[in-house]
Structure formats: structure tokens, C-alpha cells
Symmetry: C2
Subunit: 374 residues, 2 copies
């Protein structure tokens, strides 16, 4: 199967290209759109740099940038490993939201170098989509870029994931007739996605969240917590529960897996509260297959895959987020925007069911709906 | 006039965009070209990074990069000032050579930062076109990038200009029935373009070149020569002539202006040898207008403008150079390639005349001809 896909990519070459939006057929076209015409445009932009948003690619462009340090579930596979994903996102940006995105993969994984590089190339772009950058560096890199640039910067593994998970969880809670604010939520994975999911769920009113990393539950005072996990320990796990996944799952209303394939077993699910929600989002191998999760008693199951119902995928979010940000001249993507986007996305499913808590990726109104929420 | 152009750019927005080369209409499209398909492509490229040239945008992409330090004849007008030119070049790359170029303008003008930034973003690109970077930094920046990257890097202000000037001069020499190797050539401007023109003309066999900067002729031992001008003094001005433009023009066979508008007068041209060649290439205002140059006795006159005959413009060169480099997997653009490109371009004009020493920008075989010479 993999060989067949690689062959298809080889045969295809690039999945995106550029396209001229003006003709260059006659001398007068060259005079206007190249020389001497560009001289007037350049002179104008030197004096009025803000007009770049109206008279250049900056109007509609997003750089999709990765250092290849945490690509999908494949880990640190470097810039060339990251390139197919970034190019795929650029393809989705165009196909779904008519955004001109260009993939950029970096030959450095040094946080300072990444920040400097993105700052250096920012002027021609209308937005920056960071992608597949490992935690915890991703938090500081994103923060410094958000603070220093005057265009929207979003690490999609964090916030795209958080928004789509919140949207799905809102509808899943409706299906099982529980209040999101009272759910006991277990999040497996405390990297970029798990951290952002936890924070956005807290912002949405959730109060009882336990995050697990490879050493088990994160709680205040656990030995050797990094700065970012110490912060998570402050924000989550109100009862200070220690222990592993087995302990955390006791009485849990929702499980959100953004960690690794296959780590969830039937007996974990059997320990959960009645009408349990299971989001097994690891890609391509979910924490548990939907069939097995249901058999073990889960009421609502979602994965990141397109071949099962309830696909919780960032692609439902990032095109609309940047479409809205570009259209509205948004400079920072804020928590209220993320909450509104999640609510709007959830509301696209008028009557959620166990098999449909989130709109299908092909739903025609997704991008517009998310964009308008910005 | 300028206002009208700015309005046209405002109305137009971007002049280039991206375009999907694969469909994303059905679930199976997402599965192949996004997730989980990209996982297989990423895994493959992590192991075989060289295949990025065959299965990603790297196959056909060029970054057009400027720091805005020497934009056209406008000077140091920064990244936003540079953006219309870079986007215009990306437009020409696509329209003329079907190359997917993306404009990148830098918020830094520090040479080390520029080198580091270009190195950092290089992996997803098949080539780097540096543009409008001031001398003398441009020489060192280009050299370090050529040496450190495994994709072709070319500062077009230098080499694109040098190739098209050499092509034009070859045919102009034919028209006036002189041997290029015996011409006395005066080059006004010792920046990026003037330096590269001088060096390529020397490589092509010219022996008698005098370069002038704002202080006059560059000669060995002139007070306060910078390193790069000291090198030029070694290579050129065999008789060690001092003095200004007036002195240098005495008996000159060819004048090549890559400096500033209007600096050439009728009496300068009157001092030249019979059947003089005048390339007044400053943009948008040439060193002298063709009418005036001819009246003063010049036999062949060229400018950089499209509204006069004999337009000597880089756009005749850079699309074909990169088309050839991408198609042939060229990693460094060498002097023999530049010479071959100039000869091939000149040969496109079967019977050069005073009014036609260089092919028209709309000539259909230019790109292919230059590409094949690579």
C-alpha cells in the first residue's frame, strides 16, 4: 500500500503550482505588470508598506512552515520528511479556502533560528501556519512569533486540533446528554495537541481534566516536571490524581487520545462512566479501533481517519481560520475566536448523533462558517 | 501615470496565486493526497531525501528572494518596496518558463542573517533567485549560498544582467564589424551588475574594460578601494587609466551603463571610436535616450526599456537559466553555462541589425534556447 502511494507521488511530482493572475502576452502587459510598472508599485509600497496587504501576494498568502521535528505520528524525520505534509496542507488551503499557501521546511531545529527565520521571511505573507514542530519548543516559538509579527501566526497542531476537538466534544456531550462543564476528561498526550486541547477545554468551561504523558497523570508536585508540564499541573487535575491510564480512566466521561496508536484496551473503556465518549485521534493508527471501543461500551467514538465516522481532523479548521483572519485583517488569533470557531463548527451539525458529531470534511459550508466566527 | 499603475495593482491584488494540481473532491482524494497518504510519502522522504526533487514542489520551485536593499534604480527601499518586483519575477517565471516561483522578501539586511535565512528555507525549493541585494554584500551572500547549498543559487542582478549584456554585445559587435575581444569597453557602475558584466566579458575574451564608479575609473592603486573594487582593479583597466567618464570614453568602442539615468551626454559619445555601441541600461531612465545617442554618432543603441528597440533585460535570461537548471539537475551555475547561454541567446537573432541585436522578450524560443545551453 505504502509503495503504491509513493509511486503515485512520484508520478505526480508537485501537488501544487503557481498560476499567473494577469496576462503577459503583449508588450503592454510587461510594461504594466513588470517593468517599468513595478517601479511605481515599489515606490508606493516603500512609502505605504501597509498597502502590501492590498496590492501583492500578501493579501491572500500563508506560509506553511515546519522544522520536521514532530511529523504526524512519525516523529523527528526532518525537513524532507515534513515536506509532503506541508505541501498537502497548502493543497487543502487552496482547494478549500482559496488561500495561496506555500510549503516551507526548515533545515534547522534550533528554536532561536526558527523564530529568526520566520520573522525574516514574514513580510510577503499574510499569515503563518506553523506545523509539526515538537513540544515543548513549539510553545515558545509560537509565542515569540505571535508577539513579534503583525500577521496571524498559528501552530495548527495545537490550536487547529483544540478547536476541532472542542467542536466534536460539544456535540458528543449533547448526544450523551451530559454537560461539557461537568465532564471528567482524560487526555492522553501532553505534547502540542494535548496541551492546547486541555487549555481550550478549560477556556470553554471544562473543569475536570487529567492529562497523561508517558509517565502517567500530570499532577502538581510530580517529580521532574518540565516548566510547561508544571504549568499544566497547575491548570488541570484538580484532585491531584496520580497513577497511569488505568487509574485515570476510572469514572471518566471522555477520553481524548492525541498520543500513540493502540494504547487503549477494552478494560480501560469498561472503567469509564456510562455513555462514555472516546476520541482516539492518533494517526494513522488510533489508540483503539472504533469497533473495539464500542464493543467495550463507548457510546460515541471518533478518530482522525477518513475511513471511520466522526473524523476529527484539523483540516476542518485551519482553512477557515486563516480565511477569516485574512478577510478580516486579524493580527492575532485569540481564545474567543477559537471558542466561536468551535461553536460554529459544532453547530453545522444540526442534530448530532453517535455517528455524526462533526461535519464531514466535504461539507460545503465549513470554511465560510469558521471564517465568519473569526 | 504612476498613480494609475498603483490603482491597477490595488485593483488586481496579487499577480500570482497557487493552484491545486490534484483533485480534492472525494474522500479517496483526501486519503491519497492528504491523510493517511502523506504519511507514506513522508516516511519515504525521511529515508530518501533526494527524492524530494521528484515527488514534491521542490521539483519545479524557485524562491525569489530580496532584502530590498537595492531595488531597481530606487535604492534601499526595504522588503515591502521590493515585493512588487519579486512577485513580478515570479509571474514571469511561471508565464515564460512554467516554473513555480514564490516571492520572499526579508525583514533583515544583515548578510549573515540573510545567508542563514536562505539556508534555513532552502529544502523545499529547487533553486534560489537572489534579487535586488546591494553590492558589495551581494557578492559574499551569493558565494556563501552557492557553496553551502545543493541547489542552484543565482543573484540575477549580477549574472542575468551579465548574460544578456554579453549576448547583446556579441551581436552588436557583429553589426559594427568589430571583434569583441578587441573592443575598448567602458562600464559605468561597479555594483552588482557592472561587476558581473565585467567578469563575464573577461571570461568571453574581452581584454580592455574600464569600470567606473562615482569616483571615476577604477585602477590599481586608487586610494581607498574596497576589497571588491581592488579585485576589479586587478582584473580590468590594463593601462591603469585614471580620470572620469570623459577621459574613459575617449576611443571607447562600447559603453555599458548600469548606473544612473541621464549621465551620458552627446559629447561623451562624440569622443568614442567610430561605429560606437551604447548600452544605456539604467531603468527606468537610461543614461542617454536612444535618439540623442544616435544623433551624437552611436551606431548601435540598446536600453532596458520595452518602448525602444534592443531591450536588454534580465527577463530574457533568468527563466531559461532556472528552467535548464531544474530540468538538468544543475547544482551550480558555472561560467561555461553563462557563456553558452549568452551565445545561444545571441544566435536566436540570425541576422543582427542596428535595431535588432537581441531577441524580443516575446520570442517563443528564448526560454528553451537558454535552458538547453545550461
Amino acid at each position: 500500500m505504502d509503495k503504491k502511494i509513493v509511486t503515485a507521488f512520484m508520478k505526480q511530482g508537485a501537488r501544487i503550482e503557481t498560476r499567473a493572475r494577469v496576462p503577459l502576452k503583449e508588450k503592454k502587459d510587461f510594461s504594466l505588470w513588470y517593468t517599468p510598472g513595478v517601479g511605481a508599485a515599489s515606490t508606493h509600497l516603500a512609502k505605504h508598506p501597509k498597502d502590501a496587504r492590498n496590492m501583492s501576494v500578501k493579501k491572500n498568502s500563508v506560509a506553511v512552515i515546519s522544522d520536521g521535528s514532530a511529523v504526524l505520528g512519525l516523529g523527528n524525520i526532518g525537513p524532507y520528511g515534513a515536506l509532503p505534509v506541508m505541501e498537502g496542507k497548502a493543497l487543502i488551503f487552496k482547494s478549500r479556502a482559496d488561500i495561496d499557501a506555500w510549503p516551507i521546511v526548515l533545515s534547522t531545529q534550533d528554536p532561536d533560528e526558527i523564530v529568526r527565520t520566520v520573522q525574516a521571511i514574514a513580510p510577503a505573507f499574510g499569515g503563518i501556519n506553523l506545523e509539526d514542530i515538537a513540544a515543548p519548543q513549539c510553545f515558545d516559538i509560537e509565542k515569540r512569533l505571535v508577539e513579534s509579527l503583525d500577521i496571524p501566526v498559528m501552530h495548527d497542531d495545537q490550536h487547529g486540533t483544540a478547536i476541532v476537538v472542542l467542536a466534536g466534544l460539544m456535540n458528543a456531550a449533547r448526544v450523551v446528554k451530559k454537560d461539557l462543564k461537568r465532564l471528567k476528561i482524560v487526555i492522553s498526550g501532553a505534547g502540542a495537541a494535548g496541551t492546547a486541547v486541555a487549555k481550550l477545554l478549560l477556556t470553554a468551561g471544562a473543569k475536570d481534566i487529567i492529562l497523561l504523558d508517558r509517565k502517567g497523570a500530570i499532577f502538581k508536585g510530580r517529580d521532574g516536571l518540565s516548566a510547561h508540564k508544571a504549568e499544566l499541573a497547575e491548570l488541570t487535575n484538580p484532585r491531584g490524581e496520580a497513577g497511569g491510564l488505568e487509574e485515570a480512566m476510572r469514572g471518566a466521561d471522555a477520553f481524548i487520545g492525541v498520543s500513540g496508536g493502540g494504547l487503549l484496551h477494552a478494560d480501560h473503556i469498561a472503567r469509564m462512566a456510562p455513555r462514555a465518549i472516546v476520541f482516539a485521534l492518533a494517526n494513522p493508527d488510533p489508540e483503539i479501533l472504533p469497533e473495539a471501543a464500542k464493543k467495550a461500551g463507548a457510546a460515541v467514538v471518533a478518530t482522525g481517519r477518513s475511513d471511520f465516522p466522526n473524523q476529527i481532523n484539523n483540516a476542518l479548521v485551519f482553512p477557515g481560520i486563516f480565511r477569516g483572519a485574512l478577510d478580516k485583517g486579524v493580527k492575532k488569533i485569540t481564545d474567543p475566536m477559537k471558542l466561536r470557531a468551535a461553536k460554529a463548527l459544532a453547530a453545522l451539525v444540526a442534530r448530532p448523533t453517535k455517528e455524526r458529531i462533526i461535519p464531514d470534511i466535504l461539507h460545503p459550508r465549513i470554511v465560510k462558517t469558521v471564517a465568519e466566527a473569526m
